[in-house]
């Protein structure tokens, strides 16, 4: 096992209070990617 995630980063990753806000941020960010829509690629490449 090689420690690749620092102690402070691990604290950040697993702290429930920080992660609660992260949860809200992630939910919104993912919704934006999902709700960002979808379409074709052939006629107009946009």
């Amino acid at each position: 096992m090689t420690q690749r995630i620092s102690k402070s980063k691990r604290f950040y990753m697993m702290n429930p209070i920080i992660q609660f806000f992260k949860f809200i941020w992630l939910s919104i960010k993912i919704m934006l990617v999902v709700a960002g829509g979808h379409g074709g690629t052939r006629k107009v490449n946009n």
Binding site: M1, T2, Q3, R4, I5, Y12, M13, M14, N15, P16, Q19, F20, K22, F23, L26, S27, K29, I30, M31, L32, V33, V34, A35, G36, H38, G39, G40, T41, R42, N45
Partner: protein
Amino acid sequence: MSKIVILGAGISGHVAAAHLRRKLSKEHEVLVVSPNSNYQWIPSNIWVGIGRMKSEEILFPLPPLYKKKNIGYKQALVTTFHPEGDTESASPFVNIKYVNGEQKGNTEKVTYDYLINATGPKLAFDMTEGLNPGTNKAYSVCTYSHAEHAWHALDDLIQQMKQGKKAKILIGTGHAKSTCQGAAFEYILNVEQELRRHNVRDQAEVIWIANEYQLGDFGMDGVLLSYGDNIMKSSEMVEMVFEDRGIKWILGAGVNKIEDGIAHYETLDGEYKSETYDFAMLIPAFSGHGFKAFGKNNEDITEKLFKGFMLVDADYTAKPYEEWSVQDWPETYQNPSYKNIFAPGIAFAPPHAISKPRVRKNGTSISPAPPRTGMPSGITAKLVADNIIDTINGKKDLHHKGSLGNMGAACIASAGYGMTKGSGVSITTYPIVPDYNKYPDTQGRKLGKTFGEIGLAGHWLKLALHYAFIYKAKMKPFWWLIPE
């Protein structure tokens, strides 16, 4: 009045049925044909496979729901396709075979005006000698019964490890062309965490084996993503997680034979190797179901409908990797020969892989097939339903389009279960199929929409999605407000 027949009640078939029924008036018939009378939320199989969820929590019976919602249901398998009808009738139909109840074994002609083939993949265990879930100490988590079986074997091994046994656990892909690396990635991280929870981690060697050329390929040629303030490759992110968890890896491995506790594989370097194990979970190749199609006079027209999976509006011209483009990918999932047939989800034939193909000197191709995860499966099913509704309402063109080259996907990979100890690797990708013309400097993806996060929030999100999608699938009030 139109009759829409949907083959399969997985994510895409069920989404299509639900939207069609909600938006079409009662005079139109919506009928689902599927052999499994339960709806299963497949992504949560990972947690069944580590004993943290029971199958009953991830499935529910479809017949009562369909009855309540006025969706017809036949518990049967489709066997043959007849898009021109036959000598007796001009109506297109499929032949089905009942798999349960009094009708078991009986066949029936089911006619349709529109057909949605949402039969997903065949789990082709038979393509790897000796790979059969539950034999040779190798398991699968592709269905809830497979996952339950895997958990019983893993639990058994954990008990032996508690008595001092040292064990080797091998998780990854079981064929040179397997896809769905994401599911195996989730499973290896969950298993590793469970070993720690049971205080037996020190006795286990945990190994990732995959047909990927690099870690984090996931069948998508990897992704360049933003992670905090950094920009990193998915290979770097996965390497960081694996090293931190003490997981070893074998890459470019085409597993070709399984014996009791031994996985044989060939490598891109041309070597033949093997790895022993005490427990393995290996994702099989996914193939088409081998369906046959027949014309009006019973002549074989399979090549008009299938190329393994179902042919749709993709560009199937064979060309080298350098000439692949996002424009090759389908937009409407409509069969070019029969305009009333569609194939969303995994059922459509992809024009080519997404990952760069890598071939051994002897010709064996060892590289992942393109993944089609739950979100695009749902989105493509919904757009197919919307196009059918438009056509019924008299519109000429198909307005709803959704190419994987112009669609984002969110993949919340569970990295361990638990309200305070759990973790998730959340990755979003836009677009799924890289567009190298549009995003030339960021490996074909838009960075702001392609990002990664690791932590407890990912676990909560995955759990929240589990409940949200089961709520949606049960078609409870306002279910349609939850996006695919």
